[in-house]
Amino acid sequence: MKRCDVIVIGSGPAGLSCSIEATGSRAEVILIDENGRPGGQLFKQVHKFFGSKQHKAGVRGFDIGLQLLEQVNKLGVNTLLNTVAYGIFEEKTVGIIKNEKIEMIQGKKILLATGAIENPIVFPGWTLPGVMGAGAAQTMINIHRVLPGKRFVILGSGNVGLIISYQLLQAGASVIAVVEAAPKIGGYQVHASKIRRAGVPVYTSCTIKEVKGGKEVEEVVIVKLDNSWRPIKSTERSLTADCVCIAGGLHPSIELAQMAGCTLGFSPELGGYLPTHNENMETTIQGIYVAGDTAGIEEASTAMEEGRLAGTDMAQKLGYLSQEKALGKKEEIRESLLALRSGPFACLSHRAKINILQAMKANRGE
């Protein structure tokens, strides 16, 4: 059985950053991803990131992906692609399927950086071909360079819905409307302004009543909502569209954490159930860490920092990094995370993360 210091499951920004940090400290890392190439959702992000210079503000997501890949390749991280990690067993053994064969690998530390899953929103007609997740549409236009439809209605005005509307326009599609059930737009004003300038209306206090079509989406009926979020009769409006993108948020992908016996907590601000973890990203199972969306839905920038945090702690606990050096790095990373989690939007994540740390302390009996 193959053995190593660190097994990283998921090669998105969190997994890549952890691998770079750990390998940089001389730990032996095996990086696993079920896809044919690493990078997670980074390569779909054709827009410029926010944050500060150290957070790579102004750099486009896929360029950040390329930078991380370059570092991973330079360090010679052992990467297994097209490899599914299907289970975690005793003594930090991970079951993987590679080339249709099962193999077991064992690590001293494991990072679960498996990302997130899109939330479906259900309405009559949601099963018609043409209704899809917003992220799914993004993969098609930015990775596979194909439009899954021509006239789009986007359900959800968080940053995902707003950004994807913009990217659909860039790919040559028409975005007929963004529909938002809340009375306010969920995402950043600047993202909303971009699509408004391009003529895309945003209908707040509205939702999709039903989607009609013979065998595919042909018509989208929206309806206004009252203050109790209930549909108001006779306010229905019909939109001609052939595609509906559901941007209803994400929830952490935690199956492996559940298998491993990690204690879960429910955090609505961070997307739902997620593994309780401490200030070093370690879960209630010693040696198993989480980072990125698996540890709570945030952004690529926080994912990278959390990955680095986990990697630094692992390197220290494995004896590759002195306590002093590790402390210095962790302080710097935590300050960076604090900056990213500031402001009226991200302070909710900040508070939610504090709640998680408190839950962890309670779990430890402190």
């Binding site: 899953i117 194909v146 065998k215």
Partner: protein
């Protein structure tokens, strides 16, 4: 560029792309019909998790077209229900 057939019709596909991309490019959005009510289903999650995009590919049913790359000469068929082997 390579060629695959979908329900007997030849379509072009780009090297390395997922089957679903070639289908969408050709305007094909229905991947299968459900067992009980024979309802159409198509691409939904794009990430290999929901199984709405499954089709029978070269005789093998339940192939997730959103995470399976195309190969020259692949025979792709709309799947009805659970599909059949061979």
């Amino acid at each position: 560029m390579l060629n695959i057939t979908v329900d007997g019709k030849k379509i072009k596909a780009r090297e390395g792309e997922m089957i679903i991309a070639a289908l969408l490019n050709a305007g094909i959005r229905i991947n299968r019909f459900t067992s009980k009510y024979k309802e159409p289903r198509g691409f939904f999650c794009g990430i290999g998790q929901c199984t709405d995009c499954i089709m029978t590919v070269s005789g093998i049913p339940n192939v997730r077209t959103c995470v399976t790359p195309v190969e020259e000469g692949m025979v792709v068929e709309t799947q009805y229900g659970r599909g059949e082997w061979g």
